[in-house]
């Protein structure tokens, strides 16, 4: 079985972004960039399937600037076999990314595609669902458990009402939620070995995909700031304040 994994290079999850003074976006200069945490979980799941003997080959794709090679090298260090970088400078949108991934999936013909459920920069939560639509295959989103067998994927999904387990006919798209696994720490020898693993570069134009933006960003602003609160000295004082604020009966 062949697995395709998609990863995005994003601002590190522990970095607090600042909105630019001119309202055109967030400050991205001199900011630490990392693999999107949900994508890291997707990579880990693919590697575990290979280690278990279920998968035979894992290919990782990223769409982004030349620097996204770092993100792909990290996936290679985790145990992915080869990487494809679709070089693209500037902003991307889920629809364009899904079309690019669909074009790659058509030539790579994976049995399973795993992505993070959302990127922590645009928080769109769309790409996996869109990719499944474009490929005409089933989707198992927000996965907290994945079992492969007999041409099928059994996916346990984290949904509003609890957990839902579905069966998908392969090929299918699965998007990783937080509790699917805990990604491994990549040891130095593997990071060095990853430098020698194959990485090919292509572009959206070569793939025949239009990455033009459909949404115009008119403004980016800071969220409203909450007024400073007070520290109360006791439970009795807290209850009295909350009753005065009319949020307690």
């Amino acid at each position: 079985m062949k697995i395709l994994v998609a990863v995005k290079r994003v601002v590190d999850a522990n970095f607090r972004v600042r909105v630019k003074g001119d309202g055109t976006g967030v400050e991205l200069d001199n900011v630490k960039m990392s693999m999107n945490p949900f994508d890291e979980i997707a990579v880990e799941e693919a590697v575990r399937l290979k280690e278990a003997g279920t998968a035979t080959e894992i290919v990782v794709v990223s769409i982004g600037p030349a620097k996204a090679e770092d993100t792909l090298r990290q996936a290679l260090a985790m145990g992915v076999d080869r990487a494809i970088l679709v070089v693209h400078d500037g902003k991307t949108e889920s629809l364009g990314v899904a079309k690019t991934l669909a074009a790659i999936a058509k030539s790579e013909t994976p049995d399973l595609i795993i992505l993070g459920k959302q990127a922590i920069d645009d928080d769109a939560n769309q790409t996996g669902q869109m990719l499944a639509a474009l490929l005409g295959c089933g989707q198992g989103t927000f996965a907290s458990k994945l079992v492969i067998g007999d041409g099928k994927a059994i996916v346990t999904r984290e949904v509003d009402g609890g957990l839902q387990t579905i069966e998908l006919v392969l090929p299918a798209v699965v998007t990783a939620d937080l509790r699917l696994n805990t990604p491994r720490f990549t040891a130095l020898p593997n990071i060095i070995k990853a430098r020698a693993k194959p990485l090919t570069r292509t572009s959206a134009a070569e793939l025949g995909v239009d990455l033009g933006l459909r949404l115009k960003t008119l403004k980016v602003e800071e969220p409203p700031v909450r007024a400073a609160g007070i520290i109360v000295g006791s439970v009795a004082e807290l209850v009295q304040k909350l009753r005065a604020a009319e949020v307690l009966p």
Partner: protein, 273 residues
């Protein structure tokens, strides 16, 4: 202008408010709970004459709508918190640390709505659309595990009491939070750390990747206030933080902070109500 609104539980009434703000008529598509994304998305694409397709940003809405958008070659706008004009919306990015105003250039608008950002509108008198016959060979449901907790739903509760890792065990989490929630008729929430530690079920997680809530009163107990958690609750009207560490980031968003040991303060609070 005609808008199709996907119904999904109590969030529907909130999403209706946003749908009505687009102007024109709204039709509601009732979705039975056992319908999966593949046939549902296909059915929606067979419906003609809609200028906008809207769903609440529930797990169902988030699962289905991007599939619809891709089939219709539209870039979806996720999780809107404000309708600026029929094609322009505000939405949070970077876990709520930047609010974007985006304008769609597509022929249709396809949007999911953050329910907590819009007040509910009664569904009376809104035209209903029936889901047509749909079957899918791509997927099927194997099982559903819906732990039914007592009390109101997290997404619509007026009061939420939420617990973190400081409880130390599932037993303590339940022993201390359940009586307080019962007294306040509150829903119980949890931080990601508490869910990961097994103190609470995954569907109780409040935060950027869990549920986004905005009750009248949010009581965070033993929650340090990681950025991901704050993104899920900082729009609450009044926030109370109870934590032993006065340096916890949760106090930065709290209207009322109480520093101390939750194991003594919580029973005291429950008794005082």
């Amino acid at each position: 202008m005609t808008t199709l609104l996907l119904a999904d539980g109590e969030a529907t009434a909130h999403a209706l408010t946003a749908a009505l703000q687009l102007g024109g008529e709204v039709h509601i598509l009732e979705v039975p709970p056992n319908v999966l994304a593949e046939p549902l998305a296909h059915f929606i694409t067979t419906l003609d004459g809609y200028d906008a397709i809207v769903a609440p940003a529930t797990s169902t809405g988030k699962n289905v709508l991007p599939r619809v958008a891709a089939l219709l070659d539209v870039m979806q706008i996720s999780d809107i918190i404000e309708v600026v004009s029929p094609d322009t919306f505000k939405r949070p990015t970077y876990a709520g640390n930047a609010i974007e105003t985006v304008q769609s250039t597509d022929a249709k608008s396809i949007i999911t709505v953050r329910a907590s950002a819009f007040p509910p509108t009664p569904l009376d008198g809104i035209k209903r659309i029936e889901l047509g016959p749909s079957d899918s060979s791509m997927s099927r449901i194997v099982s559903e595990d819906a732990p039914k907790s007592a009390g109101p739903e997290l997404g619509s509760a007026k009061i939420i009491v939420s617990g973190g890792r400081a409880f130390g065990s599932k037993d303590k989490f339940n022993e201390l939070l359940v009586p307080l929630a019962a007294k306040l008729d509150a829903a119980i929430g949890a931080s990601r750390a508490a869910v990961d530690a097994g103190y609470a079920a995954n569907d109780l997680q409040v935060g950027q990747t869990g549920k986004i809530v905005a009750p009248d009163l949010y009581i965070a107990v033993g929650i340090s206030g990681a950025i991901q958690h704050l993104a899920g609750m900082k729009s609450s009207k009044v926030i109370v933080a109870i934590n032993s560490d006065p340096q916890s980031p949760i106090f930065a968003v709290a209207d009322y902070g109480l520093v101390g040991d939750l194991f003594t303060l919580l029973p005291e609070l429950t008794a005082a109500l």
